[in-house]
Symmetry: C2
Subunit: 108 residues, 2 copies
DNA sequence: ATTATATGTCGTATGTTTGCGTCATAAAAC
DNA sequence: GTTTTATGACGCAAACATACGACATATAAT
């Protein structure tokens, strides 16, 4: 399976972005990082009802997709949003939906 | 597993929306429906490099999440975008990212 | 040096998604 | 009425995602 290669790069990138956002824990992490503007370490765990291991894994996924970035500071790791990258993805997202915004096809 | 209940309804809804968009085939379907403004039946299959069964399944998922809507017309089914619903989700999406848009935390 | 703390990695169990072939249904064409 | 056509539903296999406990590493505190 995994036939994603058959689609255009645009759609694949957008789909990956959506996938990164497709779990409430990851959204909660992004939200938390956005709110506590200072970069906060992985004791994000205290704010999320999941085990430390699981949170760590979600952080890893967000990091791999470039939405966040962690900087080692002694024992702790300070995480923060990669705003540039996020904004870039949001632009692609919004231009994708521009066509849809302009349409009026459904009567339901 | 499946600990999603532990998160706020907002985040869960947003995560579901993102999940609906997390496959290039589904994005391709939405795009196609947006472009061919008239509602087009399931021979969407011709525009997507997947089997008819698989496309039908993606259509079902989009339908279940309320992003599209299918109306039976004899043998065929005319699908179209549920713009209202999509716009509603886009609003939630954008208000979620408003905070992030306003932040400037990452130096990378 | 030893202990405590913060974090990441590994392996594993279970659940979900993707993709497809085959069958069922139901309208339309003949 | 039989055949063709457009769909959807069912069931299966492979791949992926989610969640976590146990172990590893590495800095800081004692």
């Amino acid at each position: 399976m995994i036939k994603t290669e058959a689609f255009s790069d645009d759609l694949q990138e957008l789909a990956k972005f959506a996938k990164a956002l497709s779990h409430p824990a990851r959204l909660a992490i992004l939200k938390y990082l956005a709110e506590t503007k200072t970069c906060i370490s992985g004791d994000i765990t205290d704010f999320i009802p999941l085990s430390r291991t699981t949170v760590s894994q979600h952080l890893k996924e967000l990091k791999e997709f470039g939405l966040i970035h962690g900087e080692i500071d002694g024992l702790k790791v300070n995480y923060c949003l990669c705003n540039n990258n996020i904004l870039k993805h949001l632009d692609v997202f919004e231009s994708f939906f521009k066509t849809i915004r302009a349409t009026e096809t459904c009567y339901k």
